[in-house]
């Protein structure tokens, strides 16, 4: 009998440490390679305090991405000039030299004509510096992608303004009362999901942390929660304001923190701005002396949070009072009507939250006494992906502000993208004792310009994240927006813009059809890259180098990916591709400079990339490691990562001694500046700019989607689960296998009673139509969804049978969303991510279900 091992991890071979790239985060892995050179098992690296040796569904599946027979194996050239969703590109393999020469020539042509004409969709999160390549190209980077915007054009800038970080999450080590509102943190999605799930489970089970989940659909988190509070979609801000109302009007706030740590004490004038003295100093009201004083006066005895006062003849209120006045209109009873959450529930949650926050208590961590606030309100895309994106995000932060849990142990804590990205993730002092708001965590903001320099109007979102979805608006109305140029070239790198963009799919088709030249850089083909003229294949992460740290919520440190096998096919790294293209265009030196900035190499002279040299993936990775901890790449090759728990001094209250932006006067200042520039430049579309989106404090105003015509009587929401977190991986047979068998991904979720009232049975073919588009699918009846809601998994959104194991769904959810200014936050660029829809039954339980749901696209 043959006694050779049959289990893969037990076969002869070696273990190589690396870093997962199945989502945009960075779980640490060990890869088993057999003595025959086959990758046959991937496990979590137990030395990592982040994922603790564990991996999610996707993290267990990279082998089948590496060995996917449908990987692009050589550069491909299109032979069919006709471009459409159903057209066979007629790929022919070509050599790298030929491919790079063609792409280089075409991009150079555009570069010489007008670099603004290049539309980009560069979306590799583990190589964020590639996002900066358009800056080297000189085109300001017109976007053909909603990356960053979908997850949070409102979200990321708000974190930048409140925490000076890219993201935020609750502290799993100390939190005792965790509210998850429209977010999957700790369960199904968002930051480092394996690590977060691990820490969340420990908090819940080992420490008995109480979990409340507020969302329209019973998600994984909702299922595990101590309480699921179903809510009408797109009313989360109103729920949060209802909670705030109770906290404020019943005196349940951390007044000490508000007075010491925030600008809630600064006096606000009738114009909404902080009032200032002749030295531009913000003012506070000292109730003991009953007079206004500069914020930094040494004789301040106390700070007034409430009351109406007069300063220099104008009526002023502390910022807190402004909020209190707004909240007068946000009683639980009123918010209940909007949110469909009972008023007594809102009130009870507020009381429970306050009690759990232990206001007044402290904890000593590493010799530092800190406020201990083990109650935190966490949220993500589902709650904040609104037209009023800035206001929504702010509302959730304010719940935390009120009990003093911002950046406190147990509270709601900022998460940096990568501490070494130059100037980001660091607290800098700002105006009048406040921290410096840093809304642009991904790179510098875009300066104002008229005519616009970017096709998606980024020049008009001084706080926001690139609203790529506005491209259709501007592309087809160039005169209205004053364009004297038009994009004609496209570069797609690790992105599927046709899939990720909300709005009119047919118009996006037309834009792509009209491109003079499209180059795609990716590992697999997708709905968008099949429109390319040239496809340049990249290496799988198991074949290449990379060093990354990307928004770990409670850990820090660089993570290395290294080749565990030789490249299977004739593919190149992204670095090599962009170097070759840059050289052919003549921008290599600029590109190196841009990388020095984007990677933070500028901080250490010996790491600087020099002109004239093409630095490969390994050299970039090595420098990033050296920048972090001076360890050479050999050290990283052996250890795989240097991840440690987040240092408390930079995790908890790194801004101690400064004041946080409870009140966003900064936003109003930016608004005024933009309005002035637009007026001065005589921008013709200035009247469409909704200045109310720039708010210093949120109100309960309804987002415009609620005002769609009454026949659209339901809401449609989309969702992701852990198996499909951040990007779907349905092309991996193991993933599609477990996803297509999970009932929440098998059809469009609709409440049982709602379905019964409309004569819809489980398995019926239904159409979901919004004013902007329609999708179809099989009805999946469930008790776990709000009765006015249909919920669509992102497993149902593929529409091209481009891959043998991916099932096309009944159309992409994103197409039922609006992509207009009216539904875009004029402050942040956030688009609306919920739709009002009507749901109709098309056919009873079709026997040919697979065909029935398949979307027909016309060329």
């Amino acid at each position: 009998m043959n006694n050779a091992p049959v289990q893969n991890s037990m076969k002869p071979g070696k273990w190589i440490p690396t870093t997962c790239k199945m989502c945009l985060h960075s779980c640490n892995q060990l890869v088993h390679v057999t003595s025959d050179g086959v990758v046959n098992k991937i496990e979590g690296n137990p030395t990592s305090p982040s994922n603790n040796g564990r991996l999610c569904t996707k993290g267990n599946s990279p082998i089948l991405r590496l060995y996917d027979p449908q990987r692009v194996k050589t550069p491909l050239k299109r032979t069919n000039p006709r471009k459409g969703p159903n057209d066979d590109p007629g790929w022919v393999p070509i050599s790298w030299d030929e491919a790079l020469d063609i792409v280089g020539k075409e991009l150079k042509k555009t570069y010489e004509e007008d670099p603004r004409k290049l539309l980009c969709a560069i979306n590799d999160f583990q190589k964020l510096y590639l996002w900066a390549w358009p800056a080297a190209y000189g085109g300001n980077g017109s976007y053909f992608s909603t990356v960053g915007t979908f997850c949070g054009a409102g979200y990321h800038p708000m974190n930048g303004m409140i925490h000076s970080t890219f993201a935020a999450a609750n502290d799993p080590y100390y939190c005792n009362y965790w509210i998850n509102n429209g977010g999957g943190d700790g369960f199904s999605s968002h930051l480092h999901v394996t690590a977060a799930a691990n820490h969340m489970a420990k908090a819940r089970v080992e420490r008995g942390m109480h979990l409340v989940v507020v969302e329209p659909r019973l998600s994984m988190g909702g299922a595990k929660a101590d309480e699921w509070i179903p809510i009408r979609p797109a009313t989360d801000r109103q729920f949060a304001l209802g909670v705030c109302q109770v906290l404020v009007y019943e005196g349940l706030c951390d007044y000490k923190s508000l007075k010491r740590d925030t600008n809630a004490v600064y006096l606000v004038g009738p114009d909404g701005h902080f009032v200032r003295d002749d030295q531009k100093r913000c003012q506070i009201w000292d109730p003991e002396d009953n007079k206004a004083k500069p914020w930094d006066a040494e004789d301040i005895k106390d700070f007034a949070l409430e009351g109406n006062y007069t300063f220099n003849g104008t009526k002023v209120r502390p910022a807190f009072q402004v909020f209190k006045d707004i909240l007068a209109d946000c009683t639980p009873e009123k918010m209940s009507k909007i949110t469909d959450v009972p008023a007594e529930t809102i009130r009870r949650i507020a009381h429970e939250f306050h009690a759990a926050a232990q206001i007044g208590s402290t904890i000593t961590i590493e010799g530092r006494e800190l406020p201990f606030r083990p109650a935190a309100y966490n949220y993500y895309r589902g709650a904040q992906g609104r037209k009023y994106g800035t206001m929504s995000n702010h509302a959730f932060k304010l719940v935390n502000f009120l009990v003093g849990s911002i950046d406190a142990p147990g509270g709601h804590v900022g998460a940096t993208l990568d501490d070494q990205i130059c100037g980001k993730g660091h607290i800098l002092p700002g105006d009048c004792g406040q921290i410096l708001p840093q809304p642009h965590q991904l790179g510098p903001g875009m300066p104002f310009a008229y005519p616009p320099n970017t096709a998606h109007l980024m020049d008009y979102f001084p706080i926001g994240v690139n609203p790529g979805h506005l491209i259709a608006e501007t592309y087809f109305n160039p005169d209205k927006y004053g364009f004297d140029w038009k994009p004609d070239t496209m570069l797609i790198c690790h992105s599927n813009p046709l899939w990720n963009m909300n709005g009119p799919q047919d118009k996006y088709f037309q834009i792509m059809r009209e491109m003079r030249f499209i180059v795609a850089i990716d590992i697999l083909l997708n709905e968008s890259t099949i429109w390319a003229d040239i496809v340049l294949p990249t290496l799988d992460y198991l074949e290449r180098w990379n060093m990354t740290m990307i928004e770990p919520p409670d850990t820090e440190g660089q993570c290395l990916s290294q080749p565990v096998v030789k490249p299977l096919y004739d593919c190149k790294s992204e670095e090599d591709i962009f170097n070759e293209l840059s050289e052919r265009i003549g921008i290599l030196d600029v590109w190196n400079e841009v990388q020095n900035f984007a990677n933070g190499f500028a901080q250490k002279e010996e790491l600087l990339l020099k002109p004239g040299i093409k630095y490969g993936e390994k050299e970039i990775a090595e420098r990033k490691g050296l920048l972090w901890n001076d360890k050479p790449i050999e050290w990283y090759q052996e250890h795989g990562h240097c991840v440690t728990k987040r240092r408390p001094e930079i995790w908890y209250r790194p801004w101690d001694g400064m004041r946080l932006h409870f009140y966003l006067d900064y936003v109003l200042e930016v608004r005024d500046d933009l309005r002035k520039k637009m007026e001065e430049a005589n921008v013709p579309f200035i009247n469409e700019w909704e200045w109310g989106d720039y708010a210093a404090l949120p109100t309960a105003v309804l987002d415009p989607l609620h005002q769609e015509p009454p026949e659209y009587d339901m809401y449609a929401i989309s969702f992701k689960d852990i198996q499909l977190n951040f990007t779907e991986n349905l092309s991996i047979p193991w993933i599609s296998d477990v996803v297509y068998k999970d009932p929440v991904h098998m059809g469009i979720l609709i409440n049982t009673k709602t379905a019964a009232a409309r004569g819809i049975e489980d398995g019926d073919l239904i159409e979901v139509r919004s004013p902007y588009g329609a999708i179809k699918g099989l009805a999946k009846l469930t008790e776990g969804v709000h009765p006015e809601t249909v919920a669509v998994s992102n497993a149902l959104t593929r529409w091209v049978k481009y891959h043998m194991v991916v099932k096309p769904g009944g159309g992409n959810y994103n197409r039922i969303l609006p992509a207009n200014l009216k539904n875009t936050c004029a402050c942040s660029g956030q688009m609306e991510t919920t739709a009002k829809v009507k749901v109709t039954k098309l056919r009873s339980k079709p026997k040919d279900a697979a065909n029935a749901v398949t979307d027909e696209l016309t060329n």
Partner: protein, 296 residues
């Protein structure tokens, strides 16, 4: 919370009743041939009706193994199935089948040619008959040993096997013996016809008891019975097993003339009922959910 019942699920990752799918039509055919053949042999043996015995032997020793071999993943290793006599009813059945094939065959030959007499002939006969009885009932025991499939997991399964085997035996003796054994023996014809009626009525009672028992044994049993009487398989079970196989058979056996056509009609109806039952038993088998979880 309400105590709702589980759904029937196939491949989806949902807690519910899962249809049994590993045993299908091949096993059903083997089951059918095995019981019919052993029943025919058994009934024929009482009248030394060698034609019936021989046909029964062919069904048991040729047709049934053929179906079983088609079912097995590794038929070339089938001999190994004898290894589990201490615990497995398949092993016991296999031993009985082998003995039956040998001793039953020898018994037929001896009856026909009279090769041996006395004690040895008696031994042949006894071993043949005992192994024949085991062949008649062992599949019932095999099925009754599935603790999670309530439709099968009851003590009545071997009784169903035995009753249908005897009924099938009587039916086929009436057919194959009509022009031979029974040609000059209207008395026996009438007896067998009465026996047929008695057995089919017994089958009816046992079927009621079987359904009743399964429905009250567990949730899965109830769901199985619902499949047979109300849902997916009702369109087969009710008309073919209950109406044709029992009611029509009984009516014809009771009221029908003794003409060959009438006897043939009885036989066709009975065999349809028997075969449909065998197929549907496998189709309607549902496992309990892997963990009984609706405790809310």
């Amino acid at each position: 919370m309400q105590g709702k019942t589980f759904p029937i699920v196939n491949e989806e990752f949902v807690l519910g009743f899962r249809p049994q799918s590993e045993w299908g039509w091949k096993i059903a055919i083997a089951f059918f041939f095995g019981e019919l053949g052993s029943g025919l042999f058994f009934v024929s043996a009482f009248y030394d009706f060698t034609l019936g015995m021989a046909i029964g032997w062919v069904l048991v020793s040729v047709c049934k193994p053929a179906a079983l071999f088609m079912h097995l993943g590794h038929p070339e290793r089938a001999w190994r199935a004898i290894m589990g006599l201490g615990h497995s009813w398949i092993s016991r059945g296999l031993l009985a089948s082998v003995l039956f094939t040998g001793f039953g065959g020898a018994h037929i030959i001896n009856l026909h040619y009279g090769i041996v007499t006395g004690g040895l002939a008696q031994l042949l006969m006894i071993v043949a008959m005992v192994s024949c009885v085991v062949v008649m009932i062992y599949l019932g025991f095999v099925l009754s040993y599935s603790p999670s499939i309530s439709l099968w997991g009851s003590g009545i399964m071997p009784v169903i096997s035995l009753t249908y085997a005897l009924l099938g035996g009587v039916t086929l003796v009436l057919i194959f013996g009509y022009h031979t054994l029974l040609a000059d023996n209207p008395q026996l014809l009438s007896t067998l016809k009465s026996l047929e009626l008695g057995l089919v009525l017994l089958c009816g009672v046992i079927m009621l008891s079987f359904l009743h028992g399964a429905a009250y044994a567990s949730e899965a049993g109830k769901a199985s019975v619902a499949l047979l009487l109300k849902h997916d398989f009702a369109k087969w079970f009710v008309p073919f097993v209950l109406l044709v196989g029992i009611a029509v058979t009984a009516l014809l056996a009771y009221m029908g003339p003794t003409s060959f056509t009438a006897i043939l009609a009885v036989a066709v109806a009975e065999l349809i009922g028997d075969f449909a039952l065998k197929i549907l038993l496998f189709k309607a088998g549902l496992y309990e959910p892997a963990i009984g979880h609706s405790r809310f």
